[in-house]
Symmetry: C2
């Protein structure tokens, strides 16, 4: 398997093309740093963009939800999907509005999603999903019932093409503007995980499991 996706007109990064990446290592790093993606799909010519939790297994991306979900009921039959993941890392403050920008890492995946109907695969990937977020919680919680599994749709997206786009570093101003008396730099934006909040109905004797500390985004 090639280390990189081959961009077509659909996935090639046009604007500031030097920010574009097509190799699996870069794409996987962007995907693995997040939890929420935005899935784009079309119904009767109308675009929809639905936020949902996703996870990655090799080159495939999975998402899931209720059997009542409009998004899942539409996309499970293999219609074209665009799945985008975005992390914003900083506001870039430049010496002119034109060069103000954001530092970000994004991945845009093109392909089709199909419903995972094989029960063993569905069991496995749902367990992988929970264990990927909270290693240890699967064994601790109540196992899924047959009815719950029926009420859950899992979709596997096979990625045909993908591109990542990344901007890092300070502003890039016009050379003559560096002499201006104007502050320039970056305002970092960070996502942090706070201290666990107990369910008010949790009995006093149940303490926080160590695996809560392993939850992170990226």
């Amino acid at each position: 398997m090639s280390e990189s996706y081959t961009p077509s007109e659909r996935s090639r990064v046009r604007r500031v093309h030097q920010r574009g990446h097509y190799d699996r290592e870069t794409l996987h790093a962007v995907l693995d740093a997040g939890m929420i993606c935005h899935v784009g799909y079309v119904i009767d010519g109308q675009p929809y963009v639905t936020p949902t939790i996703y996870w990655r297994d090799g080159d495939d991306v999975y998402f899931h939800g209720s059997s009542a979900s409009r998004m899942l009921r539409q996309v499970r039959d293999g219609i074209p999907v665009c799945l985008t993941v975005t992390h914003v890392d900083a506001l870039v403050v430049a010496r002119s509005g034109f060069h103000c920008s954001a530092n970000y890492r994004s991945a845009m995946l093109f392909g089709t999603a199909v419903e995972v109907t094989d029960e063993a695969e569905k069991d496995r990937v749902l367990k992988d999903f929970v264990e990927g977020l909270l290693p240890g919680h699967w064994a601790n919680m109540r196992p899924p019932t047959t009815q719950e599994m029926k009420g859950t749709i899992v979709c596997r997206m096979s990625v045909e093409e993908a591109s990542a786009k990344i901007r890092t570093g300070p502003p890039v101003d016009d050379e003559e503007d560096y002499a201006l008396d104007c502050w320039a730099g970056e305002l970092p934006i960070t996502t942090t995980i706070g201290a666990p909040v107990r369910d008010p109905r949790l009995p006093d004797g149940i303490t926080e499991p160590d695996y809560l500390a392993s939850f992170k985004l990226g």
Copy 2:
């Protein structure tokens, strides 16, 4: 003007409908808490989802970028657009996988975007945009040139329909599962603004302006 949008089949929240909101106050609060949206549009039946910075003025949402941007060149002519903003507030850890969830606030807007061609409006909304993020920076930085304004497309999205979807609070488990010996609660996810990072090319004498401290998301 009505205080609420009237949902059609396109915008009505189906899954867990009690989480759906259609009033302007709730929608504007979700929009005003963010900086990056995901714009969905269709080219030849293929959905695209492009992350971009947005800002709000009344009921209209604006986004902008280079005249070379594929997204802007496509959507500026009034094709259907879905613009989604999502904030993730917590991972919700339940006593069963089925009830594990996320706390989130999202807004999904349907409408069309048109290019702002009136120069006075374009000047005004770009200034509003910069001043909305960093009040004071507009007067401090070098003003835009005619060439830069030509190289920038600003789009105004007129919102035809919109819905917000919000989940808050602890997990909602099956009644009999509350007796289980399993931790449950929330792991809060917070976005924070870090200390300003100076452009390495900034002269020593230029100190941080007070307005940097006013940058916030929401």
